[in-house]
Structure formats: C-alpha cells, structure tokens
C-alpha cells in the first residue's frame, strides 16, 4: 500500500526543487583571496600551496589577472575567464541580434490576465558570475546558465544583452544552433529543469573604475539576468 505522506513529501520537494535557481558557480578569485588554514597532517604541503597562492595574489596586485584562467600577453588584449570551463557548454558566437518578435499581449477576454504581456521565455531563469579585474580592450569570458521550468524550444532564438558600465551596451543572438538538445521537430530547446550553459564574452570598455556588468535575456518583461562587478584598470 503506498505511503501517501511519502508521496506528498516527494511531490512537494520535487516542486520546490524545480523552483530553485541553478546553484552558484565557484568564484575562484574569492577563494584566492583567502589563504587556506594549514592542516595538522598536511601542514608542510599546505604551506607550500599557500606560498603559491601568495605569489598568485601578488600577481593580481601588480598585474592583470582574471578570476580563473588568464591568457597573459605583454603586447595585446588579455582574455579573462570567470569560473571553470564546463564540458558541453554552448560556445559563444558573435551573432548579430535577431530582435525576434516574442511578446504577445493577452486578449481582453483573458480575465485576470487581460492585457498582460507574455513571451515564451517567461519561465526562464538565468544565473552566472561576473567578477575580476581587467584592462580596457581585454576580453571577459563567463557563463550564463539558463534554466527553464518547462521544455522550451529556442524558436525563435532569443537575444541577450550585456551592459558594461554606463556607456557600453550591446545585444547579440544566443548561439541556439549549438545547443546540444533537440526536440522532436529537430529544434534546439532548453529541457525542463536542466541547466544549459552558454559561454559569453564581452570586450572591456575604456571606462576605468569598478563597473557593473549586467547580462539579461531579452524578451520577458522581468528580463531574467544577473550582474557582477569588474574592476577596470588602465595599464601603465
């Protein structure tokens, strides 16, 4: 005989889990700011590792270092990756914005929803981490993780925007054709309750100081997105 309370708990828990945003990413630069405490048995090894970290921290202080991977070059722009690279992440592509028509105003006989503007992407949430220190002209690479509460065809393919500081704002089309999921009609889609990671990249503008970098998915009124702070420092 089924345990109805067990089933009710499982159902409620599943519903709650589905409403949760994806977990945060590990912010490597924040870890690097905190020296690990030496363990009792591994004190010597950890001290050595801490020494490496101190050297790395010094490099952050005197040079340009992203939060994770950095491609240093004495002559040209540097690429900074925020967080780890994940296998299966949809690669970034420099696709011009398609400005798809996705907004629909519900009909007057829609009752309580009368006049409400809806889009296919209203059930999508987006999270990501943006942080680090960079020079104007450098390239910042990070991930945007999209999560849909239902199976959602990326048809039309939505646009997204990245605003960097006060004066830099640009819109691209999501790289939908590289999404590894296809629905029955062969269209790329976001499977329900599945994190789909998209690589993003943006060129750091010549706007020194601590700048807000805002990523938003275009279309929905609520504009799912996230932001982080990046220190823009002109080189000497």
């Amino acid at each position: 005989m089924p345990d109805l309370i067990d089933e009710r708990l499982a159902r409620a828990a599943r519903r709650w889990q589905e409403t949760q945003p994806p977990p945060p990413v590990v912010l490597l630069d924040r870890l690097a700011e905190h020296r690990p405490h030496p363990g009792r048995r591994r004190r010597a090894g950890v001290i050595a590792a801490a020494a490496v970290l101190v050297v790395a921290a010094g490099a952050v202080a005197v040079g340009r270092l992203g939060s994770s991977g950095t491609s240093p070059s004495p002559t040209g722009p540097v690429t900074h990756r925020v967080g780890l690279e994940h296998p299966g992440t949809v690669p970034w592509a420099d696709l011009p914005a398609g400005h798809p028509h996705v907004r629909t105003t519900l009909a007057p006989h829609g009752g309580a929803t009368h006049g409400r503007v809806v889009t296919p992407f209203d059930g999508v949430s987006a999270v990501g981490a943006i942080t680090g220190k960079a020079e104007p002209g450098d390239v910042l690479v990070f991930e945007a993780v999209l999560l849909s509460s239902t199976d959602l065809p990326l048809d039309p393919c939505p646009d997204y925007s990245i605003a960097f500081g006060r004066n830099s704002h640009r819109t691209w089309q999501l790289n939908c054709s590289a999404v590894p999921y296809r629905d029955a009609r062969g269209r790329p889609y976001l499977p329900a309750a599945t994190n789909v990671r998209f690589d993003m990249q943006v060129t750091v503008p010549d706007e020194p100081g601590r700048q807000k970098v805002l990523w938003t998915l275009d279309g929905p009124q609520q504009m799912p997105g996230f932001y982080g702070l990046v220190d823009v420092v002109r080189g000497s």
Partner: protein
C-alpha cells in the same frame, strides 16, 4: 588522496556537490541570501580543506556541515533588508502550504531528516553521515516524521 593545492583543484572537487549545497542553503536561508551563504561556506571549506579526512565520511556530508554552520550564523545576524517579490507564480509552483505548516511542527531532528532526504535529495546513508547517527536511526526518524505529519494533516488529506 586528493591533491589539495589550488583554488581550481578545490573547485573541481566541490563542484559535483554544489547542487546539494545550494538546496540545503535554500531550505535554511532566505532565497535572496542563498548564494551568499553558499559562497561563504565555500570559502570556509577551502580554508579548511586540508582538514577533510575522507575516511571519516563523504565530502558532501562535510560540506553540508559547513553550509549548515554558515546558515546558523546568517540567521544569527538577523533579517536583512531584502524584500522578495514574487510575480506571476504558476499554480503548479505554489508550495503545499498545509504541508509546510505541518513540517514546522516536527521536532528539529525529524525536520532535519525530512529536509535532507526529501528536499535536499540525499540518500539515507548520507543523511546519517550528516546527522551523525546510524542509517537505521535516520529511517526511524523519517518514519516518525511521516507518522506525525499523518496525524497533523489527516489521512483523508494525505
């Protein structure tokens, strides 16, 4: 033995457990603070990584212990100034209010077992590691919790 040296190595080690850690924080911290709590816990875990001993338990149990500590500290600091606005919630996503209220009336250990097993999604053995008891004790605690919920909600509504 896991090589414990760099933040990137730590990140690779901890990443398979992030979902569970975020769920735990989501149950014990305000939604707006969940990610901050997890990040604080990750820094603490990184600082203490060299003290983790795999012979004494699974990584996830050790990590949840740290997240739980950060959640307690977060609650001790008092409520923040963040107001959560929820718009356009679909009926299917509405919580089971009666069940949530009934869960609040369980004992702390019963509530912890239910949270870890159902909401965080851990198996009984891992719940036992987190709670510091035998798997059989967890099963008994879950059984008692369900019996109490049955009393509170009534069989007709279960």
């Amino acid at each position: 033995m896991t090589e414990r040296g760099t933040p990137a190595e730590f990140a690779r080690w901890v990443e398979p457990h992030l979902l569970v850690l975020a769920r735990y924080a989501g149950r014990h911290a305000p939604a707006a603070d969940r990610d901050d709590v997890v990040q604080e816990a990750l820094i603490r875990a990184w600082q203490r990584w060299s003290t983790y001993d795999e012979r004494r338990g699974a990584p996830v149990a050790w990590l949840i212990g740290i997240v739980a500590d950060r959640c307690r500290r977060h609650r001790a600091r008092g409520p923040g100034a963040v107001v959560e606005l929820v718009e356009g919630v679909e009926p299917a996503a509405m919580p089971d209010i009666d069940l949530e209220r009934a869960l609040d009336r369980l004992t702390d250990r019963q509530r912890a077992a239910v949270d870890l097993h159902y909401y965080v999604g851990l198996d009984v053995a891992t719940v036992a590691e987190v709670m510091g008891c035998a798997p059989g004790t967890v099963k008994a605690t879950l059984h008692q919790a369900r019996a109490r919920l049955r009393d509170l909600l009534g069989d007709d509504h279960a």
